[in-house]
């Protein structure tokens, strides 16, 4: 086997994205009823750059009173927003899509500063996809009856939306765009470590002239979220986050008329057969687990390699891992950015420790770790089994576990043997094998000969404990409508 000489020096020159064009305030208030207001508690928390530890800005912490105000404003706005001519409703959403595109670079830089993800990803994936979601759903606003034949779709009312820190602006777009298109109003809470792009989105919404109160953005941590979930005047909860919190939400709303859609955790199986195009597959495996530092609910965190090619694949994986560039998220060469928070870094490190204790054989690429900030090098574990906790549980970091298999039936059973069911990957050059696997894998999204691809037109969401409902595409509309029956 010929190999690239990796002993040569492969340094890249720094290619930093500038930050002097971005506009950030020293502190951010809550966006309620179309204006930025101070929180009742007057309390603000710091948001930091996870790559440097520097404080970027201060964010208002919303409490019960603020959430209540936001819900009241959304309830009031619902009356006219839901009655507005759907065509006009759509035009507002189109406008928001365009304004995100206009400010795309600023959004991308802030996303990388606040969340730690490589600028290459925020620039090429997060921000354009967020704009596309608004653009896609804008067009649905006046066409809903075509999506649900023989039914009369109606908006639900006020939607409470709680989103995670791994794709801050994109998740806001996934939630806000379909809700607005269907005629609902919104109280949205971003994750406490990544509020900034949502607050910049609030500015865009203000500038777009969207009627006051249609979108309200309240910032804060878990407690603010529980105020939203428990609020009696909210009709629907849309949540993206951990399975544990998703279950708490379901318990809180049990017995009420509140509806919910949940997009929760996963432990994606990525299956590589002996007849796969190996180099493409290896590239795909890398992207499946190390994209966004592995902070991805649908990450391909369980690799299954057919036994007879396992040595070659693992060798190629290690080679590729050693060429990944870890460092400053704002450097255009960076492949692996910073871990989003100190807490998450601890969780990942604990799992790595556990993996070793369970008898796993660890390999980490030897990259230079910056002195400041939160970092975790790309990691893989061999010698693990189905029962290992690092194979069963979601780590939400750049940690891949590798198992081997012999037959197709065996790997299908192993892949499905998890309480999750969000995503899976299949690598083979044989078409019938792809369709057999995609049919039998119990997962909401199956990528064949690719991985971690997203699109506004493509429904996303999980089976089993990975969630309830779909976001994106035509199927994503249903989460924000009710039907007379």
């Amino acid at each position: 086997m010929s190999r690239i000489d990796l002993n040569k020096n492969w340094d890249y020159s720094e290619a930093l994205e500038g930050t002097n064009h971005i506009r950030l305030k020293e502190k951010y208030n809550l966006f309620i009823d179309g204006v930025f207001v101070e929180p009742a508690s007057k309390h603000y928390f710091k948001t930091t750059n996870p790559a440097t530890g520097e404080v970027i800005s201060k964010i208002a912490e919303a409490g019960k009173i603020d959430v209540d105000l936001a819900v009241k404003s959304a309830r009031k706005a619902f009356k006219s927003w839901s009655k507005l001519n759907p065509k006009e409703r759509g035009k507002y959403i189109f406008r928001i899509a365009r304004m995100i595109q206009e400010k795309a670079k600023e959004f991308a830089v802030i996303e990388s500063m606040d969340g730690g993800k490589p600028i290459r990803e925020s620039r090429d994936i997060d921000i354009p996809l967020a704009a596309n979601h608004f653009f896609y759903y804008a067009g649905w606003a006046d066409k809903l009856e075509y999506a649900f034949s023989h039914q009369t779709p109606k908006p639900l009312g006020v939607a409470g939306q709680i989103i995670p820190w791994n794709f801050p602006l994109l998740m806001a777009a996934w939630k806000i765009a379909p809700a607005l298109a269907c005629g609902n109003t919104i109280v949205l809470k971003p994750a406490e470590t990544t509020s900034l792009t949502c607050l910049k989105l609030a500015e865009v919404i203000e500038e777009s002239g969207l009627p006051k109160g249609v979108v309200n953005i309240v910032t804060g941590a878990g407690e603010t979220g529980s105020e939203i979930v428990a609020h009696p005047n909210i009709d629907k909860i849309a949540f993206t986050g951990s399975t544990a919190v998703g279950k708490l939400i379901q318990e809180t709303i049990a017995g009420t008329d509140k509806r919910s859609t949940l997009e929760l955790g996963g432990k994606g199986a990525n299956i590589i057969f002996e007849d796969a195009a190996l180099d493409q597959a290896v590239e795909g495996i890398i992207n499946a687990i190390f994209f966004n530092q592995g902070h991805v609910c649908c990450a391909g965190s369980r690799l299954f390699v057919q036994e007879n090619i396992s040595e070659v694949v693992i060798e190629k994986l290690k080679d590729r891992m050693s060429s990944l560039v870890l460092g400053n998220p704002l450097d255009k060469n960076t492949d692996i950015g910073a871990i989003n928070s100190r807490e998450q870094l601890k969780t990942i490190k604990d799992y790595i420790k556990l993996g070793k204790k369970e008898g796993g054989k660890i390999y980490q690429s030897e990259c230079e770790i910056p002195a400041k900030g939160n970092w975790c090098p790309p990691t893989l574990f061999l010698n693990v089994s189905q029962s290992s906790r690092i194979v069963q549980e979601e780590i939400f970091g750049p940690v891949l576990s590798i198992q081997t298999f012999r037959t197709m039936e065996e790997v299908i059973e192993k892949a499905n043997n998890t309480p999750f069911g969000l995503s899976a990957g299949v690598w083979t050059e044989k078409g019938s094998k792809i369709f057999k696997l995609t049919k039998e894998l119990n997962a909401g999204v199956v990528w064949a000969n690719t991985y971690n691809k997203f699109d506004a037109t493509s429904p996303f969401g999980g089976f089993k404990e990975s969630g309830i409902g779909r976001e994106g595409g035509l199927h994503g509309l249903k989460a924000y409508l009710k039907f007379d029956s």
Binding site: G255, L264, A448, S458, P459, K464, G467, R470
Partner: protein, 286 residues
């Protein structure tokens, strides 16, 4: 000499067999005049768990049965029910329906089976999509049955309600464990006999009789059940079901006041409710 009637023993329906409840308990169903009609099984948690095991086993194969074949099997149920129309009308009259009501309910039940038989190879076409993604990929979304569904069947319309709830489930490739109408459970067991002679694979439909109060919690909490349907309006039971379903994030569907006789008692949306959307991507760039 007066002929002595042969009375029917009603048992339960699990995996294509008609066992008695393992609990050995029974409840008596009487007609309006107080005459004993039947001793019905009072099923236990163990009966339910046994039924889930066979339902899970049957579901995998049933899911991969062709849509055409599923449709023909549902049609076959309707054929057999049509052949036993007189018996079913009589049985409904035993439990208080007028002849006119009973006839209407049985006929509508048969027609409803035919309605869903016809959907078997069509609903997928209505609800799937090819998604025009911006990157060079072919992307489509298709439906997959949720799996094993536990069903608390309607108390009223003991035949029509049962068929209206179960037919869309099974035509979509799910298997189910049903708690029959608590008020009029007899006819559900007669219907089980029809199912059992109509090519429905054993274990796809399982029917238990017993008390909601005793069984709802087990129907909701079982970890190998993917979804639950509750037909009724007890807020207490709905709360209990929603709480107990959290552990494995069971999908919960509440049918509060659906009038199964009306036109909106049937639609492909009853099939769609118990399908998961699966989206598949493949590159198009060579």
């Amino acid at each position: 000499m007066k002929r002595i009637d042969v009375l029917k023993t009603y048992k339960i329906f699990i995996g294509g067999k008609f066992p008695r409840t393992e609990s050995g308990r029974y409840s008596q169903i009487k007609d309006d005049a107080g005459e004993l009609l039947a001793n019905m099984c009072l099923c236990s948690r163990k009966d339910f768990r046994n039924a889930v095991v066979v339902a899970r086993k049957a579901q995998k194969k049933w899911q991969s049965t062709s849509a055409l074949n599923k449709g023909q099997i549902l049609y076959r149920i309707a054929e057999l029910l049509e052949g036993r129309k007189a018996q079913f009308i009589d049985e409904l009259m035993m439990t208080g329906s007028s002849r006119k009501q009973a006839k209407a309910e049985v006929e509508l039940s048969i027609d409803r089976l035919i309605y869903y038989a016809g959907w078997s190879d069509k609903f997928q076409q209505i609800f799937s999509s090819v998604n025009p993604v911006s990157s060079s990929h072919f992307n489509f979304s298709t439906l997959q049955p949720m799996g094993v569904i536990s069903v608390i069947a309607p108390n009223d319309f003991s035949l029509l309600g049962l068929i209206s709830v179960v037919a869309p489930l099974i035509v979509g490739g799910n298997s189910c464990v049903v708690l029959a109408s608590e008020i009029n459970p007899m006819i559900s067991i007669s219907f089980a006999e029809v199912i059992n002679t109509s090519d429905v694979p054993h274990g796809v439909v399982n029917i238990l009789t017993g008390k909601r109060k005793e069984l709802v919690s087990h129907f909701a909490s079982h970890k190998d059940v993917n979804a639950i349907i509750y037909c009724g309006d007890s807020n207490e039971e709905i709360y209990e079901i929603e709480m107990l379903s959290v552990e494995n994030l069971k999908r919960v569907k509440i049918y509060k006041r659906i009038d199964w006789e009306r036109k909106n008692g049937q639609s492909p949306y009853f099939i769609e409710k118990f399908q998961e959307i699966k989206t598949i991507w493949h590159p198009t760039k060579v």
